[in-house]
């Protein structure tokens, strides 16, 4: 009886390796504007990115779903979530988006990862000065 109980309590080891299984990719981006005093809300930023997608990829591009997970109005830094298969389209539209309301602008892509957790543990942000 004791032997059966011991067998029943034996831990089960399970190991699974998932390759390219993340449905989403996450991007940390920063918008640099010519006029730094410009104010931009989260809704306006998302609309601006959608406009960029439409310019490059048309109506199909504008229908591409992405999420604005987090936005800092002071630094214009945002975290975006997009399906992995649409990452290239979103990223390319951010790269080629050069004007916001007649002023020059640029998107800096700070970090891209299939894991949202990786965006909060970027050692390149370590400042020891």
């Amino acid at each position: 009886m004791r032997r059966d109980e011991e067998k029943g309590e034996a831990a089960v080891f399970q190991r699974v390796v998932l390759k390219n299984a993340s449905p989403y990719h996450y991007m940390k981006v920063c918008l640099v504007l010519e006029d730094e005093s410009t104010k931009l809300s989260a809704v306006e930023l998302k609309q601006f990115i959608i406009t960029g997608l439409k310019t490059l990829y048309g109506e199909v591009g504008a229908a591409l779903n992405f999420d604005l997970l987090k936005y800092d109005e002071d630094t214009f830094t945002a975290v975006l979530r997009v399906y992995s298969k649409w990452l290239v389209k979103l990223w390319s539209s951010l790269t080629l988006n050069g004007f916001y309301q007649n002023q020059a602008c640029a998107f800096r892509v700070l970090q891209v990862s299939p894991f949202l957790l990786a965006l909060s543990g970027n050692s390149r942000e370590l400042q020891l000065d």
Partner: protein
């Protein structure tokens, strides 16, 4: 064949489930193999303030040193080798060098010196090395790995002199360097530090109390959904979005329950595996005194620009250099371990 427009770099997620009661569980060895840790994030459920034992452990994490403009040949200095490297458990990593652009250097606790060099630097150095595992069409990255504890690298030997000459006259690399060692390990860095501008740092600890935290069912949630939820908690991202929200549709995976209070702790710096092991033991002790439905999560991020990852295997940066692991510990001593690696990493152990 997949269109290039929808192709993304390879990523790996290893998911392990077992119990600490199993003598063959590999958590300890997996933690030990990730040498250069940048950040540890802890999430304690049903907790509003850090227990005293945990708090004192967090403040006792090993200090580390930043040495400015360290000439690399100093790592081959005879006194440094005898007082530090040969004693073992000395960790060194170049600071503010980007693995995809610059030359990066790591000193592993087993005395292996790893230099990740661009093509020009490697050819000028004139020492044996091999091309990076992650070179694709062009060979533009080379890795030189030297075992400083090996007999052939003893001061005065031919290989030692060749590398020393290379780093002194042909390729006199200088870079800011992070150094750390086990306090009781017997190694001394004073000889090296006394010759250069250095500063001592202690890991930065931050805590944040959370209330009414929506939490998925940790046993049944799929790994990517779970890590996304944990990433959202870590980054203060809202998970209460309605289906009609314009900005975001991120929600907590179902089924979910609300945890009335939770504590999030983060520690940043050059963190040693030894301290992470102690933290895991302390968290297990703490969990033993909690309610049966309590759990703890621990996420450890490796350095993005470290030339080595798990077990001294080569690490690279393509679009990202993520190499981290997340450990969920439950009251009944079972655990879920998720190890994540990017495109330029071998499979985690």
């Amino acid at each position: 064949m997949e269109s290039p427009m929808i192709r993304t770099p390879r990523s790996l997620l290893v998911c392990e489930r077992s119990s600490f009661c199993d003598e063959n569980n590999r958590v300890s060895s997996q933690v030990e193999q990730l040498h250069f840790n940048y950040k540890v994030s802890v999430l304690l459920s049903d907790c509003s303030s850090a227990p005293s034992h945990l708090e004192s452990l967090l403040t006792s994490f090993s200090h580390f040193y930043l040495v400015r403009n360290l000439p690399l040949h100093e790592l081959l200095d005879k006194q440094f080798l005898e007082t530090a490297v040969y004693q073992g458990n000395v960790y060194g990593l170049s600071y503010r060098t980007r693995l995809d652009e610059d030359n990066c250097v790591a000193l592993m606790p087993n005395g292996h010196l790893v230099l990740s060099l661009d093509k020009d630097s490697f050819q000028v150095l004139g020492f044996e090395g091999k091309t990076s595992t992650f070179n694709y069409k062009t060979k533009n990255r080379y890795v030189v790995t030297v075992d400083l504890t090996d007999g052939s690298m003893a001061p005065g030997r031919q290989a030692y002199l060749r590398l020393l000459t290379g780093l002194t006259s042909r390729l006199p690399l200088q870079m800011d360097f992070l150094l750390s060692h086990h306090p009781g390990g017997g190694a001394s860095l004073q000889a090296l530090l006394s010759r250069y501008i250095w500063s001592e740092h202690k890991p930065e600890v931050g805590t944040c109390s959370l209330t009414h935290l929506p939490c998925p069912d940790l046993q049944s949630c799929d790994p990517h959904g779970l890590l996304e939820w944990l990433g959202a908690v870590d980054a203060n991202i809202s998970r209460d979005n309605s289906s009609s929200s314009f900005l975001s549709s991120l929600v907590c995976p179902e089924p979910k329950r609300t945890v009335s209070r939770a504590l999030r702790i983060s520690i940043c710096g050059l963190l040693l595996p030894h301290d992470v092991q102690r933290l895991i033991q302390e968290l297990r002790c703490y969990l033993g005194q909690c309610q049966p439905e309590s759990w703890v999560s621990l996420t450890v991020h490796g350095f993005v620009d470290s030339p080595v990852s798990w077990g001294g295997k080569e690490h690279g940066v393509l679009r990202g250099g993520e190499n981290f692991y997340t450990l969920f510990i439950f009251h009944d001593h079972t655990y879920h371990l998720h190890l994540a690696a990017g495109a330029q990493d071998t499979c985690p152990p």
